[in-house]
């Protein structure tokens, strides 16, 4: 049987959608809170910062040399230690992230669209789709992404185009009122969420033909995603002003609700909800795929697909109880970046150093 492989095109679209996911709707508020009207600049800084850090992940991907992430970790750190650490990584980071994202979609739908529908119904619906997608494998999800990517782009273009007439450039002036400090501060949040989540893409290295393809996918999707974030945040702040944006739960959704174009082209905010559903779906599929691959590698399972339903049920139960209320969700943004840094910077750096010290990454495997 031929090894299932992702094309660069499919993977780029998939990863872009998955990065857009949670961040597009929530982030403008947190960014505007810290960096005020310069929030859009923070995105450039974050993208630049990420591109500076990405060689770390890329070097790792190269060293993996087609092996799976878990295999690589246990090769570097020894069988028992390597697997325990990989388990920690998968449970404390990947799977935690999965539950958080699931919570995000629940919160959004319950706050903005269907307040009386129990969030369990929302979780169940999206979980069924996500589990089905992950069961079908990366190629199928990749192809789905190839199709739906354009749907998302279309919806995004429509919404942005509709916002252009209401943009007031005065709202983004003065540029750099408080200097670079708040901009950099805001960009830290953004680097961690969503850019550095690209560490999860390491689980997909074996699905690519070579590390080069993986690298170009990861870089491309981050750049596309950063550009889109920048445009959306800019439109938010230019339309609503930074103080208003900072106090909204879902600014991107709110701003679309304000559109009333010639009294006809209005009330289409649900498009943004659809857009979000699509990108959250790909985000969840990406993370669950990573969790599945990770766990089945750790426990040497023949077929990791058996894990999907239990994992789905666990997240179904925990997503609602992981945060007691929405204030905690917002509060979590304060320390979440540092938590992410542990797994996405520190951990790969340690791996790489040990790998270099053993100096055998490439030679042995061939």
């Amino acid at each position: 049987m031929e090894k299932p492989s992702l094309t660069v095109r499919q993977a780029t679209m998939w990863f872009t959608l998955s990065q857009l996911g949670s961040a597009l709707l929530i982030l403008p508020a947190s960014l505007a809170n810290i960096a005020k009207q310069d929030a859009w600049l923070a995105i450039f800084v974050a993208l630049a910062g990420y591109l500076l850090m990405s060689p770390l992940h890329i070097a790792l991907a190269r060293q993996m040399n087609g092996r799976s992430f878990v295999d690589y970790v246990s090769f570097i750190m020894g069988n028992v230690l390597g697997r325990s650490i990989a388990l920690l990584f998968v449970v404390a980071f990947s799977f935690l992230l999965f539950m958080l994202v699931l919570r995000d979609i629940g919160d959004f739908v319950a706050t903005s669209v269907l307040p009386e529908t129990p969030t369990e119904a929302i979780y169940a619906l999206i979980l069924v789709a996500v589990i089905y997608a992950v069961r079908s494998g990366v190629t199928v999800t990749g192809r789905a992404a190839e199709l739906l990517f354009w749907a998302v782009m279309l919806l995004l273009t429509i919404s942005i185009a509709a916002l252009v007439p209401t943009i007031q450039l005065d709202n983004i002036k003065p540029v750099l009122e408080f200097g670079f400090k708040p901009v950099v501060h805001a960009s830290i949040l953004l680097i961690a969420f969503p850019f550095l989540e690209s560490v999860l893409y390491l689980f997909f290295v074996p699905d690519f033909q070579n590390a080069k393809q993986w690298t170009s996918t990861v870089l491309r999707s981050s750049i596309i995603c950063g550009t889109l974030f920048c445009i959306v945040t800019f439109c938010n702040i230019a339309t609503l002003s930074s103080k208003v944006t900072a106090n909204l739960t879902y600014p991107s959704y709110f701003v679309i609700r304000t559109i009333s174009f010639a009294d006809i082209f209005e009330r289409f905010e649900i498009l943004i909800a659809v857009l979000w559903y699509i990108s959250i779906f790909f985000r969840l599929s990406m993370i669950l795929q990573a969790v599945k691959t990770g766990l089945s590698g750790i426990f040497r399972l023949h077929d990791g697909r058996a894990l999907l339903i239990p994992l789905g049920l666990i997240s179904f139960a925990t997503a609602q109880s992981i945060f007691p209320n929405y204030a905690e969700v917002i509060h979590s943004f304060e320390f979440w970046p540092y938590y992410v840094f542990v797994f996405s910077l520190l951990f790969p750096a340690v791996l790489l150093t040990i790998g270099k010290m053993r100096g055998s990454g490439q030679a042995d495997s061939n």
């Binding site: 706050t111 269907l114 119904a121 005065d170 103080k243 304000t258 009333s260």
Partner: protein, 406 residues
């Protein structure tokens, strides 16, 4: 049976289960269970909010409408907060209020003077309300009375109110169509204080709320937008007259079109200019450590009506009119600013924001007592007036200087 059959049955069962989710009806609101709220009015009564909502009578919207009935119904309910009052309205209305299509929000003067922030919180927090409604303050009459008025042009009074506000802001200028998003910005920005247009009833308000109001061509009473209300934070301070309101519209770049009369230079007659477009640029500067505002105003206008003894075919006369019109505009704008500075002392023009944009450092020193600085701030305006065309006739009818002399 073999495994394949079980599988097929299993798949079909899953598919059948998925059908349940496709109806998406957990959160459903059938049309016959909701009342569409078009406009909301908030009054202060006995220390509580009296919330009145104007809802559509669905029967009147159908082809076979009953002309005996009013097209809208006004429900009102008193409660300490907005949300309570709205839910309480179910005690007198058979359906739940559905707020997504609300287009108009009205405060009475008492609420406006006590502060409007409290009332806005619910409207922004609730998921149903779309942040695209317009706002105004009811003068002399209560918001409830305003909403009960039977209006002639549109079947739905709320539509009348909203359209008139938008049209008058576009074609007449001394009103301002403030929607809730611009209100949010005005409330949160430091160097910009809010304003809202006033709405009142002209005529016999008692007869105006009966269906007889629209039974003859001249109504007993009609609504009327009147003046711009000046706020400090979220509290109404007072009203601007028509000329000052127009000055506000010019300064904040809201003039799309308007008309203005100008006295002729050599007689008491007047001519009228139709302004086709105006563009104002604020150029803040600092003179001897103090804020100084220069405004450059570009106006394009035509002669719309002419009663001066002048021959418009002569360019010289046309330029005279142009200078006169510019002078008059200068007067209107300056006196508007002076009144606001002296009487209210709040920066409704957003001068503070202009300084904020250009001189962020100085702004942070000024922002705490900005309104005081605004009061004493010298303002200079430079008008570039362009009077272009004069319509289908050239000089006034039978009014050439030669014939008058005789």
């Amino acid at each position: 049976m073999h495994l394949g059959t079980y599988r097929r049955i299993g798949y079909r069962m899953v598919l059948a289960l998925l059908l349940i989710s496709l109806t998406g009806c957990w959160n459903r609101r059938e049309l016959n269970e909701i009342s569409t709220v078009l406009a909301m009015g908030i009054d202060r009564a006995d220390g509580q909010y009296e919330v009145s909502v104007q809802v559509v009578d669905p029967i009147q919207m159908s082809q076979k409408s009953n002309t005996q009935r009013s097209a809208t119904i006004v429900y009102s309910e008193k409660a300490p907060t907005l949300f309570e009052a709205l839910r309480k309205s179910t005690t007198s209305a058979p359906r739940r209020m559905y707020l997504s299509h609300m287009t108009f929000l009205l405060f009475d003067e008492t609420v406006a003077r006590e502060g409007i922030k409290q009332t806005l919180d619910f409207l922004l927090r609730d998921h149903e309300v779309r942040p695209d409604f317009n706002m105004a303050v009811a003068r002399e009459y209560s918001a409830k009375q305003m909403l009960s008025l039977v209006t002639p042009m549109e079947v739905l009074p709320a539509m009348d109110l909203m359209k008139s506000l938008r049209v008058s802001a576009k074609a007449w200028a001394p009103t301002s169509a403030v929607n809730v998003v611009s209100m949010m910005q005005m409330l949160t920005k430091d160097g910009l204080e809010p304003i809202l247009t006033g709405l009142t009833i002209a005529g016999d308000a008692k007869k105006g709320i009966t269906s007889k109001n629209v039974a003859q061509p001249a109504t007993f009473a009609n609504f009327k937008y009147q003046g711009i209300g000046v706020f400090r934070d979220d509290r109404l301070l007072g009203w601007l007259n028509e000329s000052d309101s127009k000055s506000y519209a010019y300064i904040t770049n809201h003039v799309t079109s308007t008309v203005a009369n100008v006295t002729c230079m050599d007689s008491d007659d007047k001519f009228v200019v139709e302004v086709l477009g105006a563009k104002t640029k604020m150029q803040p500067s600092i003179r001897s450590g103090k804020p100084y505002m220069t405004m450059k105003i570009d106006v394009r206008a035509n002669v719309g009506e002419m009663h001066c003894m002048m021959d418009l075919s002569k360019p010289k006369d046309m330029y005279k009119l142009q200078t006169e019109a510019a002078k008059r505009l200068n007067q209107v704008i300056m006196s508007g600013i002076r009144h606001v500075q002296q009487r209210y002392g709040v920066d409704i023009y957003g001068f503070g924001e202009a300084f904020h944009r250009k001189y962020p450092k100085d702004w942070h020193r000024w922002k705490a007592d900005w309104n005081q600085r605004f009061e004493d701030m010298p303002v200079e305006i430079q008008i570039h007036y362009q009077l272009g065309k004069f319509g289908k006739i050239i000089s006034p009818f039978d009014n050439s200087p030669e014939t008058r002399k005789e």
